[in-house]
Structures are given as C-alpha cells and as structure tokens.
C-alpha cells in the first residue's frame, strides 16, 4: 500500500480547503447557525415540544445532517471534478496508486472536512439552544458513516459530471429536497398517513432519524433500521465507485 501517496493526496485536499477557509468553513457554519437563531431561539419557543423535546433542540440533529449531506457531496464532487476539469488528474492517475488509494485520499479528505464542520456546528448550536446527547458513540458512528457515504456519492457525481451545471444539478435537485423532506424540521408522524408512507422511501429520513435517536433516544424509525439503511447505502456507493474504476469510466479511456 502506498500510504505516502494517500497521505499526500489527503493533505493536499485539506490544504485546498484551508486556502478557502471563508468559503469552506465560515460560510456553512454561519448559514446553519442562522437556522438555530430563527427556528430554535426565535420561532422555536412558540412551537410546542416534539416527542418531549423542545423544538430548538429537536432540529439540531436534523440541521447537522443537512449540513453533513450537502457539504460531503459538494466537497467530494468538487475535489475530483476540479483536477479532471483542469487536467491535473493525469498525475494522480499515472502515480503508483491503486484505485482504492485514490478514493481514500479524496473521499477521506472530503469526509473529514464535513465531520469537522458538523462538530463546529454542534458546538455553535450550544450557544442558541440547550441539547443533550444520550448515545455519544452512536452519534459519532452516524456522523462518520453519513459523511463517508455522501462523500462517496459526491465523488461519483464529480466523475459523472462533464460540466459545472451537472456538478450542481444533483445537490440542488436531489440532495437538498430530500433533506428538507427528510424530517429535518419535523417528525414524520406529524404528516398525514399517505405522506408518511411516501416519506419512508426517502433514505435521508433514516439518517436523520438515527442521528436524532443518538441525541434524544427518540426517532421515526428504529436506530437499527437506520444503521442498516446507511450501511446498505455505503455498500452501494462503494460498489459504484469500484465499477467506475474497473471500467475506467470518464477517467481512463
């Protein structure tokens, strides 16, 4: 295994974010904090408790998931798309690195960034709303699995995209709606029965539910189901990435 190479790629990707710290760290933290101010501190006090949790505290796990999903996808997709677009990818592809090592470098860095962001936002939320974490280890597990899975998805999008438009398309048209409809701001038992059933087809519901369970011990579905769904999702993403490299799709004619 070429650990030096993985480390080099990982560090270069992390350094790229540090160069643009305003855009990659400060801006998502501020925009997520605004949700806490508006929905948590301001409006939240007028909304009744959800399953025994104050509304402000209820949305904390959902918002962190929202941030995690969008940041993982955008970090990872840009991370691989940019070198493809500029042509510098030749160097990575001609280096003595296996496909898995390339994925570890790019996806590892993207996932790390979104986990760091998630933790920053978690700490920031403390300033606006009180919350507790019942199962901290499970919380970390959900955080890591979600960041990894969606960074892999972003990596796939970054390889599939042949222009900046496509790069934005999936995050805007798929990820964001799924997240908003995934129980970030509400518990799905607030919905009419028909929409409850439809919502269960949304994978984000399971992520938010599992993550929220690790905070308050409550969720729309059992945490085991959440864990199974995200693991399946991770396996599917890995299979697609494996196939991309085996066929050389968009990388190696």
């Amino acid at each position: 295994m070429n650990l030096n190479a993985v480390k080099t790629l990982y560090q270069a990707e992390m350094a790229r974010s540090l160069r643009t710290v305003l855009q990659s760290v400060v801006s998502p933290v501020i925009s997520t904090s605004l949700y806490f101010v508006v929905f948590g501190a301001a409006i939240g006090t007028r909304i009744s408790e959800v399953n025994g949790v104050s509304y402000g505290a209820f949305i904390v796990p959902g918002l962190i998931m929202l941030l995690l999903l969008t940041q993982s996808v955008s970090n990872a997709s840009f991370g691989i798309f940019f070198p493809r677009f500029s042509g510098t990818i030749y160097e990575v592809l001609s280096a003595p690195m296996s496909y898995r090592e390339i994925v570890m470098g790019y996806v590892g860095a993207a996932a790390t960034k979104s986990i760091i962001l998630g933790l920053i936002v978690l700490a920031t939320a403390r300033l606006f709303v009180p919350y507790s974490i019942e199962h901290p280890l499970m919380m970390v597990l959900f955080l890591v699995l979600t960041a990894l899975t969606f960074s892999l998805l972003g990596f796939i999008i970054g390889i599939w995209a042949d222009g900046f438009e496509k790069l934005q398309l999936v995050p805007l048209l798929v990820i964001t709606p799924l997240t908003f409809l995934g129980g970030t701001f509400y518990s799905i038992d607030m919905l009419p029965p028909f929409w409850q059933a439809v919502t269960l087809a949304n994978p984000v519901v399971y992520l938010v539910s599992g993550f929220r369970w690790s905070f308050y011990g409550i969720g729309d579905v059992s945490p085991v189901v959440s864990l199974v769904v995200i693991t399946l999702f991770l396996a599917a993403a890995l299979a697609v990435v494996e196939r991309i490299f085996r066929t050389g799709y968009r990388l190696k004619p």
Partner: protein
C-alpha cells in the same frame, strides 16, 4: 549488439470507444539511457502511445513492460520508474511551485527530500520562483515546473510529450540542454515532437508514427545517411536554354533560369563510388560547359520525414 530494453511495447493496439483506432499493433523497444524521439504528424498516435505506457489509457490489446514489469499487473513497479510531462500546461493556478513539486514526489510514494527538490528546481532555474503561485509564471516557466514535477520522484524514464510546443526559440535551446543533462545523469528520455528539428538535434534514435502505425524505427545517423539524397548545384558561366542531349544520362535539372544545373544523387551510394559526379564533370568538360562555383546539400530529416510520410500514404 545487445541492447537492454527499459521499455518493451508488444503488439499494442488501442481502439477508442468511438471506434477510432489510435494504435495498430505497435511494437517498440526503448533502450536504457537513450533519447528516443517519436516523430509524427498531429493525431498520429504519439500521445496515445505514451498514455498507454504511463497508465492513463487502457490498451485494447498487447502489453507494455517497464523494466520487466507489466504496466497493468505490476502497475506500481512500472509507474514508479516513470515521470511524465504532459503536452498541455495543466496546473492548479493557485498552488505554489514548491508545494506542487513536493506533492508530485509524495504521490509517487517517496519520502520527503527537500535537498532533492532543491536540486531539481535549481537545475531548471526555478529555485528563485519556488514561492511563486503557478498563475504568476510564464508559459515557459510552467513547462519547467511540469518537468520538475516529473523529476521530483527520481524517475529512471522520462516522457516528454511535445516539450517545446509553444516555447520560443531561446527557451527551446535551454530545454534541449536540460534534456541532455538528464540523459547524462542516466535517465532514459522519450520525447514526442512534430518539430523535426528537435528530433534531429536531440535524438539517438527516431521512431516515425503515422496513422497509429510505427512506420520506422532507426538510429538517427543511419536514418539520415540511408535516406539522405544529396544535391549538387553547379553555377554556370553561361546560361543554358535546355539540358544538352549529351548529358541526358545524368539526373539533371535546370534552375535559376538556366544559370544553374542541379544534379540529384543518392548519398548512400557514395561508398560504392557510383555517385556519378566524376562522370558528370567529365561530360560537362567534353561539352565545354564551364561553371564558376558548386555546392552540395544533404537533405534534412524534415525532407526525409515528409517523403516518408508521403510514400506511406500512397
């Protein structure tokens, strides 16, 4: 004579997804320590050949051995020996010279070695620019940075894809000097070019590729001797209106409105004393045609190349 091949390309073919066949059963051996120039018009398959060897393009059939290592099954051993300088000036605009060169070394799995990087940067006159961002460099400097990146991991083999495309004459001379120094340090160099001048200046051996086929591989000197036709131009005292019948057996043409006679002959036949010059001069004497000056000219590699490509096309 035994030559130790550092790269063996065996019956390599590449057909792209669109159906375009870029390489047709190309076989080639690169000798350790030589400068090999791959010469061919645009679209002939030069870059595809390099890309397959370096692992950027999958071959359709055939195989490549780098120092005895299959470049697919033993890709690590094969690739760590190779440095590649691509044709396009690709770079991350905001990265600094030092960082991008250090990045290249790391990607190839080598431990950090600032002394080596300094040596490389100094040899390419980049040391003063090491803290500059790529975007602030001129085209020639960017090209040097790409070479520095390729040399950062101490490769045994260096591929230069059109190293002097778009580079001014002075810088081109500098680049050639850099390449020679590299060869002297033991690096095998394969360069592609469509500037014949470049191959003529640099190469030990030349391969000509056309339409995906390697039409010729030869020592540069042999090539120029074998294929070199020569011309003898005689500047006449009195202009001629036509070539006298008595000179009909010589391959002559009139030039400069009858003021010059041009005699074409094959340089490779010189050894066999049948260049025909002596006979021609004797015949001229007999006809009473005097000349005040003469000169001979050997055709350049460019002419050889053009005639070769034309010949194959017919």
């Amino acid at each position: 004579m035994h030559h130790d091949p550092v790269i063996s390309v065996e019956r390599l073919s590449k057909t792209y997804a669109g159906g375009f066949q870029a390489l047709k059963e190309v076989s080639l051996e690169i000798r350790r320590g030589e400068i090999f120039a791959l010469l061919g018009p645009n679209g002939a398959g030069k870059t595809t050949l390099i890309s397959v060897i370096c692992g950027l393009v999958n071959a359709t059939s055939g195989r490549v051995l780098v120092d005895g290592h299959d470049n697919v099954r033993e890709f690590r051993a094969a690739r760590e020996r190779i440095g590649l300088v691509p044709q396009e000036l690709t770079n991350d605009a905001f990265i600094r010279v030092w960082d991008t060169v250090a990045f290249s070394r790391g990607l190839f799995g080598k431990p950090k070695d600032p002394d080596h990087l300094e040596k490389v940067l100094r040899s390419l006159s980049l040391w003063e620019k090491r803290h500059n961002r790529m975007i602030t460099l001129s085209g020639g400097m960017k090209r040097r940075v790409l070479i520095a990146k390729a040399l950062a991991h101490e490769p045994e083999i260096l591929f230069l894809d059109e190293p002097t495309a778009g580079v001014d004459v002075e810088l081109r001379r500098d680049m050639w000097e850099v390449v020679r120094q590299l060869r002297d340090s033991g690096v095998t160099i394969i360069l592609t070019t469509h500037y014949i001048e470049e191959a003529e200046e640099m190469a030990d051996r030349i391969g000509v590729i056309r339409g995906g086929e390697l039409v010729l591989v030869e020592e540069k000197r042999t090539l120029m001797r074998q294929l070199g036709s020569k011309e003898l131009t005689l500047h006449l005292r009195e202009p001629l209106e036509a070539i006298p019948a008595a000179l009909g057996r010589h391959a002559l043409a009139l030039a400069e409105e009858g003021h010059a006679l041009v005699y074409s002959y094959d340089a490779s036949e010189e050894d066999e004393e049948s260049s025909g010059i002596a006979e021609l001069l004797a015949d001229l004497e007999a006809e009473g045609i005097g000349f005040k000056d003469l000169n001979t000219r050997q055709s350049s590699l460019e002419e050889i190349f053009v005639s070769l490509v034309k010949e194959k096309a017919q």
